[in-house]
């Protein structure tokens, strides 16, 4: 599509300006209202059409409401439809007049033509006027019992609409149980599907307040019901199949034979013409086999072909959506797709966002056997007309080089880029050669020969310039004219706008000086002088630092600035594996397209129904291990850091202190802790005791001294938690799916707490000190999300918590699930008190 440049909505000449035309219409409608002359329907139709077209282009025709209703007495179905459309659009703003329409809509609901009955019922429910709901119940009730499936189908959706207008009316009329009956017994699959989608929404919304509803909602993912749907899945229309498949992803089969049964049953869905069905099926497959590594691999093999076909068959829009999902899978399991790399070759006509995805996939699937072809292909794109893509492809070549062992051919390619004499190609290639040299210093000889030929005047981009300067400094020994090139750059210090480049220049001058002092000395002096006078504080500081360290001792300076370097083994990844896992769990959702998990971009209030299982996500074992043994992980990471031994010991020491501090209680002191939590809950609960600073001081004192003193009168919740609770992620996940939400509430976080919550870890330690353990966390300021669990003391009864904290509003949304429902209120109090103390203690 090539949208024309002007965004202005120039009204077409025929388009009316508004007022006079509307009053004109009003008059004409009034004349026709009472008329029974032959052919009056035709003239009405013309008028209605005009009204609707005004409405469509955005002219307010609500003033015609009365006249429209008066004209609505007709047997002509098109007239009726137009009238319904009009009424549906304006009833909300004219609730009083809407009452006028009720009469004729109700009459139409009893029409003998099922089509009219259905349409009238749909319009009646779409009025969405709160004080008219009493008129809905009757027609809906009879609609649900109608002999025609079309009417029943409409009525089911009507119930959902009614629920959104007035939940209590809907519940009082007992519609959910009628829907349930229809869902299980109706012969028409569309009715069943509509029931399913309506009940999912109603029960999810009700679940927080009604135990029955949450039980019913759980029943939707019970074995008999899932099997009932699966056995009929072929009878459903394609969209309803998506709905059913989405529900199936939430079902947890009891054993592997069940998993295979389901997969066998659904296998042909992978061949469905509708891409939405295919993707929904793939999601089911992936979810079912998560815990079965071998089968999971086979699933990848099985879904590969359908996905690749979907990419090449659909419209560009469909291709893109599928490609995003494919991208996710390729990133997860590149080796499965390594023989299909040709599918990721870019076509000339594809939009840039598709090419970008493909480039990333090509980079990911590159391995020993296909690197040569892939790099050859990528080099073709470097000459592409689309400059951003050309850049990306050069970067892709570099990435492949960095992840491969055999880089011979690739280095040659990169050096060819440098000789292409296109400024952006040179720029990108320079950055890459720099990275390559950091990883493979052995290539320095070949690279430097080429880099040395590049005139620094042809390099303008800061990143590339910085890379060139770095290389000049690092390899000043081997590059003949390095000191002079650097020197000329120093002379033009004032023309260099990028602070990054100036910083690099300073360091490069230093390195050059250590290698070739006589040639560089004067230029270095000029550089340091210019640096100290620089307005950018970093440049200034660095120049001053270099200056002083040189004055102190030149050999020390050399050890600091230009020590022997270790080759970099792995460059850090930009997206954490936790986030990737999370996105994978949200397969077949918008998250995949945005490459962000949904909690990062969806507001809580806008989440869809039955989201509960998705939210939990895949809690990877590694992450849990991370929580259990933090020190060990840190030590491993430390190996990569170039710290001196003493520094390392220092950090380790302090870290040990830290971890000792975060687990203050051992088994013997449980009683101390239990009584203490009682006070806390008493204190933080304003109805029981005033929250005074003295009180919290007293508790701090208690904490320090460990005196088990608790005024029992003030502490009704007798809940003790196990300090050493343990729960593995998969059990947590399973329980989270199975258990209903016992409590859902909003808790305020203290302003200090909100301010202290800059990273999830801060809260984790705090909660752990209250025997509430974290199993997964994530998010970025201001939104954080945590999954906690706790165990009852001396009992294996678990409490699971989902907690979403918004630091800007200092509010936390908390959902609690419990094995033992009776104590969930007690636990909630405890949790609240623990959370409210965060940042204050």
């Amino acid at each position: 599509m090539a949208p024309p440049a002007q965004s202005q909505r120039s009204p077409s000449p025929s388009q009316p300006s508004g007022k006079s035309e509307v009053s004109d219409l009003k008059l004409q409608l009034r004349q026709l209202a009472g008329s029974r002359a032959p052919g009056v329907d035709d003239s009405k139709r013309e008028l209605f059409k005009k009204v609707i077209s005004y409405m469509t282009i955005g002219i307010d025709v609500s003033s015609l409401f009365g006249e429209m209703v008066m004209c609505s007495a007709t047997s002509d179905i098109v007239l009726k439809k137009m009238c319904y459309l009009y009424v549906g659009n304006y009833a909300k703003v004219n609730p009083d007049l809407a009452l006028l329409t009720i009469n004729f809509l109700q009459r139409d609901c009893r029409d003998e033509d099922p089509m009219i009955r259905g349409l009238a019922l749909r319009s009646l429910c779409s009025l969405r006027v709160a004080n008219l709901v009493e008129y809905l119940v009757g027609p809906l009730g009879s609609g649900l019992k109608d002999s025609n499936s079309y009417v029943r189908m409409v009525a089911v959706m009507g119930v959902l609409k009614l629920y959104h207008i007035s939940a209590s009316t809907c519940i009082d009329a007992d519609f959910p149980s009628i829907l349930k009956h229809l869902m299980l017994h109706d012969s028409d699959t569309q009715v069943v599907a509509n029931c399913l989608s309506a009940l999912q929404e109603i029960w999810s919304a009700e679940a927080s307040t009604s135990e029955e509803a949450s039980r019913e909602r759980e029943a939707l993912i019970s074995k008999p019901f899932i099997y009932y749907l699966l056995n009929r899945i072929k009878e459903f229309c394609e969209w309803a199949q998506c709905l059913v498949l989405e529900l199936v992803t939430k079902y947890v089969p009891s054993d592997s034979s069940e998993i295979f049964d389901i997969m066998n049953l659904l296998e042909d869905r992978l061949q469905h013409a509708n891409g939405a069905v295919v993707l929904a099926t793939i999601r089911v497959f992936l979810q079912l086999t998560l815990s079965m590594t071998d089968v999971h691999q086979q699933v990848y093999e099985r879904i590969k072909a359908p996905l690749l076909t979907l990419v090449s068959s659909g419209s560009p829009e469909q291709s893109y959506a599928v490609l995003s999902h494919l991208h996710l899978l390729v990133m997860r399991a590149p080796y499965v797709f390594s023989s299909d790399y040709k599918h990721f070759y870019c076509q000339y006509n594809e939009p840039s966002y598709v090419k970008r995805l493909k480039l990333e996939m090509l980079t990911a699937v590159a391995n020993e056997s296909n690197t040569y072809e892939i790099v050859t292909e990528l080099c073709e794109y470097a000459a592409n007309v689309d400059i951003p893509i050309a850049r990306e492809s050069i970067r892709a070549v570099g990435k492949i080089a960095l992840q491969q062992y055999d880089v011979n051919a690739i280095v040659d390619r990169l050096l060819q880029f440098l000789e292409m004499e296109k400024d952006y190609v040179t720029a990108e290639a320079l950055v890459l050669v720099k990275d390559l040299l950091r990883k493979y210093p052995q290539w320095s000889h070949d690279c430097i020969a080429v880099v040395g030929n590049i005139s620094s005047k042809n390099v303008q981009e800061p990143k590339a310039k910085a890379a060139l300067i770095w290389m000049l400094g690092e390899y000043s020994q081997d590059m003949q004219d390095a000191p002079y090139v650097l020197g000329s750059l120093v002379e033009n210090w004032d023309e260099e706008h990028s602070a990054e480049v100036r910083l690099h220049l300073l360091t490069a001058m230093m390195k050059c000086f250590f290698n070739r002092p006589p040639e560089t000395q004067s230029a270095l002096g000029a550089a340091l002088a210019a640096g100290i006078a620089d307005f950018h504080q970093d440049v200034h500081d660095r120049a001053l630092f270099y200056y002083r360290i040189l004055r102190y001792n030149v050999s020390v300076a050399e050890r600091v600035v230009n020590p022997p370097k270790q080759a970099v083994s792995v460059f850090a990844d930009t997206q954490s594996s936790e986030i990737k896992d999370r996105i994978f769990d949200e397969f077949n959702s918008l998250s995949v397209l945005y490459q962000k998990p949904s909690y990062m971009f969806t507001d809580k209030e806008h989440r869809g129904p039955l989201e509960f299982a998705d939210e939990l996500g895949n809690l990877s074992i590694g992450e849990a291990a991370n929580n259990v043994v933090p020190t060990q992980m840190v030590e491993e990471n430390d190996k990569d850091l170039l710290l001196t031994t003493s520094e390392k010991e220092e950090t380790k020491g302090s870290r040990n202190n830290g971890s000792a501090y975060s687990v203050p209680y051992d088994g013997s002191s449980t009683s101390v802790f239990a009584s203490q939590t009682q006070i806390e809950s008493a204190v933080s609960n304003p109805t029981l005791a005033g929250h005074s600073p003295q009180a919290s001081f007293a508790i701090d004192d208690l904490l320090g001294l460990g005196i088990p003193a608790a005024p029992a009168v003030l502490s009704p919740p007798q809940l003790k938690l196990n300090t050493k609770a343990a729960l593995d992620p998969s059990t947590f996940q399973q329980k989270w799916r199975q258990l209903p939400v016992a409590l859902s509430q909003e808790i305020s976080v203290s302003p200090q707490g909100a301010a202290a919550l800059t990273a999830p870890q801060a809260l984790l330690r705090h909660m752990q000190s209250h025997s509430i353990h974290c199993i997964a966390s994530g998010g970025q300021s201001p939104n954080f999300k945590f999954f906690f669990f706790a165990q009852k003391f001396e009992e294996s009864s678990n409490y699971l918590v989902e907690c979403v904290i918004n630091t800007s509003s200092a509010k936390a949304q908390v959902k609690i699930k419990a094995d033992d429902q009776n104590t969930s209120q007690d636990f909630s109090t405890l949790f609240e008190s623990a959370l409210s103390k965060f940042g204050t203690s």
Partner: protein, 415 residues
Amino acid sequence: MLQCIFLLSDSGEVMLEKQLTGHRVDRSICDWFWHHVISQGDSFKSQPVIASPTHYLFQVVREGITFLACTQVEMPPLMGIEFLCRVSDVLSDYLGGLNEDVIKDNFVIVYELLDEMIDNGFPLTTEANILREMIAPPNIVSKVLSVVTGNSSNVSDTLPGATGSSIPWRAAEPKYANNEVYVDLVEEMDAVINRDGALVKCEVYGEVRVNSHLSGLPDLTLSFANPSILDDVRFHPCVRFRPWESHQVLSFVPPDGEFKLMSYRIKKLKSTPLYVKPQLTSDAGKCRVNVLVGIRNDPGKTIDSITLEFQLPPCILSADLNSNHGTVNILGNKICSWTIGRIPKDKTPSLSGTLLLETELERLHVFPTFRVGFRIMGVALSGLQIDKLDLKTAPSRLYKGFRALTRAGEFEVRS
């Protein structure tokens, strides 16, 4: 769950708005969207799924009409996109093409269709065959009929029987005096050829299209002579899975009228029917171009509608290109288009000439990609062959027809 659907004209004007749920979506979202589209520029196609500050937007563009759907909840993206594609298909089927005028003239029908296709944000029936029974298309026949009978309603009196039947894609028992069924193999060849003539990638995407006018509930079986060459297949919901799995036989009860029975993909093809040899040599601010096109592998039928197109690099000031066969045009956006038609017997079509580069450039560093178009009637280039088509309880007079067609899909030659 979709909340609202808008239809926008190619100047960004809202032609139609259909609110689907209680959460009204304000029209201002279209302004935001249009602004976004324009800010992306002409050359850069905007993404099909966009996050606006308030909504997630799905967009599908067909014939200059933008179908825009909004949602605030997480949902399967393909569901939104597929649905919009279906809407555009159904509309273009109903209105005999899509453009601004035809939608504005028939907006009542569009509203009616949307009303049946989606309720409360969830898609219902998108099968054109069934919709046609609920809402009559605005064709000339029905217009004439309405004048004659005086019944001007464009809605059929009966509800479609299929809404209650277990074969949702087929209307209840149509009757035809002449029973006919046509099967078309339509293939598109996607290929990438390097400047040295090496085939980088070549595959065929094909569709089996059926046009069926059969009485009653016909049960058809279609088999291929060489089904093993198919790499991957996708079926219309009417195809039964088991017979395909065990014998590679398509067994189905067809919808009435035209539909896509199956689509398939065949990869790793070894050759293309045409060769294209581009040669670009540049020095001293000039670039000589010479392109030859000829038949590499004779498919046995005439190759016609051969075209060749390429984008001239932006650094080119002027181009002087001529051909010994067909016509060469340089279009406004620096696209050079060479229409060849058929390849003559006596000579090899060639395009030659010079490109003048920008003054400071010595040589050309950007090499154009040549896109090739062609069409071959009567051949499915993948080699797929239909073996036979059987009808259980065949009517007395049955006419079966088979056709094949191959055309170029994304056929690219690099230089």
